[in-house]
């Protein structure tokens, strides 16, 4: 009967320690030197492509804002009625945002509005999209470096001259 107890133990204990497991289960990852921060990403065979844009030159640090997210299939056709599960994480910190963004489909085919995005720390962020619809499921990921981009500074220098 001991084996049965051992088998059941995780099931009984896990709900209580879910928060702790969340932190323990994740592995802290530093950003890679050649991090791809493209705003357009695609699955390896190009079956699905996603891109985003905001109202800002740089994704804002500490500012609640929206993303316009576009989905296209291999033929470049807009992907409609997709079910998008969006997760945002800081791999170097083991946590995500302090908001829970909402993905809404817009009237424009293939265009989705993500409301409530807020990157509240500078550094390396990952925005992962779990996209399902039309009998298939895809994982896509955007990498971002927020608040550490020297381009903003270069621009202000250019403005002065």
């Amino acid at each position: 009967m001991r084996w049965l107890f051992l088998l059941l133990l995780p099931i009984l204990v896990l709900p209580e320690t879910a928060g702790a497991m969340d932190a323990i289960g994740k592995v802290r990852r530093e950003r890679s030197a050649d991090l791809d921060t493209s705003t357009t990403v695609a699955t390896s065979y190009g079956t699905l492509q996603a891109s985003y844009e905001t109202d800002f030159l740089e994704v804002p640090l500490n500012g609640v804002h929206s993303w316009r997210l576009s989905l296209q299939d291999k033929q470049g056709q807009p992907v409609t009625d997709a079910n998008i599960d969006l997760t945002v994480d800081m791999p170097e910190h083991l946590h995500g945002m302090t908001t829970v963004p909402l993905v809404q489909e817009t009237e424009t085919p293939g265009l989705y509005l993500v409301r409530g995005m807020n990157f509240h720390m500078p550094g390396y962020w990952e925005v992962t999209l779990d996209i399902s619809g039309a009998g298939s499921r895809h994982l896509l990921r955007f990498n971002l470096i927020v608040g550490e981009n020297p381009r903003a500074r270069d621009k202000s220098v250019a403005d002065e001259s």
Partner: protein, 390 residues
């Protein structure tokens, strides 16, 4: 053994190579002298992001249409300093938010009618914040200002007394600002308007230029180290945006992200749920951003509230990141006033780094000298430091 003559040139080459290697390794030797420290692109970007010159004008306050009305601010200022708004006639907002002490006080916990549960928050730069109080249980500045008035250990009065006091002592200005007679308005409306006037005043309390800002501005112009900061202060700044990772939470021109984090502050067994207990307050208050007395458009404003992560478990024991501007002028520190000096704060951050007490705090392997340098840097964030050094 006699050296083989064939080997001599090789030895010279090796020695030269070794010298070159040493020069390369100790490349930032200029930095060691503190005259022309090199900053990489990431550091430069972060330093600029902290500078006061990057601070935009205060954002609008959609829930308070009087937020930028100078007459409302005048009324708010009068009430802020009016100690008649208290149970014993001796306590005003300015009692704890002392202008001569960075708009906070020198006590571990604020003292009004009684002893408050937490340390008095500094209120400079509140116009830029999204959440108020240490636990963020208020979602607007005007809503926050109402809390202490009705708190039994702070001002110790209620909204009916507030209405009577406004009518008796401030009715003329109130009528001018709010275009209505307080006497004929519901008590909650007068109470909310009092908060909106107080908020209009607090919004005018803005940070002043510090030596750090002068340094960042000079760096922006010349792109190289300058003489505004000392070697220790420059080293502290490098740690702040780098190895010590302070900038993760203390970011932007106000040195705060306005969010909630585990800081690993000792609580002497007096466990405080912090942010974890705030979501209920946010949901039930009648003076909230989406409440009856708010001026916000519930369709378009307040996305930070609408999409807030309300995970009580995740945020239990977290507190709002306070601004570091003026920090060295206003001990004690943390939400419970646990530390009397910045040295104690820095020591604790080193002690709890990576532990379960502060699961998101990772400050690197800081040496004793690192902590001294960080403390030196923090002292450059006070405006009165200009007088000491210029």
């Amino acid at each position: 053994m006699k050296a083989d003559p064939v080997d001599t040139p090789r030895a010279i080459i090796l020695m030269l190579a070794a010298v070159c290697f040493c020069v390369v390794v100790s490349g930032p030797c200029k930095a060691a002298e503190g005259e022309f420290a090199e900053w990489d692109a990431r550091e430069l970007a972060l330093i600029q992001s902290l500078s006061l010159s990057q601070l935009p004008p205060p954002p609008p306050s959609p829930s308070n249409k009087y937020a930028d009305d100078p007459r409302a601010a005048e009324l708010g200022r009068a009430i802020f300093h009016d100690s008649r708004f208290s149970a014993n006639g001796k306590i005003s907002c300015a009692t704890c938010h002392r202008q001569d002490y960075g708009f906070t006080d020198d006590l571990p916990k604020g003292v009004g009618i009684g002893v408050a549960e937490r340390r008095t928050m500094p209120i400079v730069g509140m116009a830029y914040q999204k959440w108020f109080f240490w636990d963020g249980r208020a979602d607007s500045l005007w809503s926050q200002t109402l809390g202490p008035l009705e708190n039994a250990v702070e001002h110790g009065i209620d909204r009916h007394q507030v209405k009577r006091l406004v009518l008796t002592h401030h009715s003329e200005l109130y009528q001018e600002v709010f275009e209505g007679d307080a006497a004929s308005q519901p008590v909650n409306q007068v109470f909310a308007n009092t908060g909106k006037a107080l908020a209009a005043h607090v919004r005018t309390l803005l940070p002043e230029t510090t030596r750090f800002d002068l340094y960042a501005d000079a760096l922006q112009r010349e792109r190289k180290e300058n003489s505004v900061l000392t070697t220790e202060e420059t080293r502290g700044l490098r740690l702040f945006v780098g190895k010590a990772k302070c900038v993760n939470c203390h970011n932007g021109p106000l040195f705060t992200n306005g969010e909630f984090h585990h800081s690993g502050t000792p609580d002497k067994g007096d466990s405080d749920p912090g942010r974890g207990a705030a979501f209920k307050d946010l949901a039930v208050t009648e003076f909230g951003f989406f409440g009856q007395w708010s001026d916000a458009d519930p369709e378009t404003d307040g996305d930070h509230i609408r999409f807030l992560d309300r995970d009580t478990h995740k945020y239990a024991g977290t507190f709002k990141t306070p601004t570091l501007r003026g920090v060295s002028d206003r001990p004690p520190y943390m939400h419970n006033g646990a530390f009397k000096s910045l040295a104690q704060v820095l020591n604790n951050y080193r002690a709890v780094s990576g532990s379960l007490r502060a699961d998101e705090v990772f400050h690197g392997d800081l040496t004793d000298e690192d902590l001294l340098d960080l403390e030196a840097f923090l002292q450059t964030l006070s405006s009165n430091a200009n007088e000491n050094h210029n």
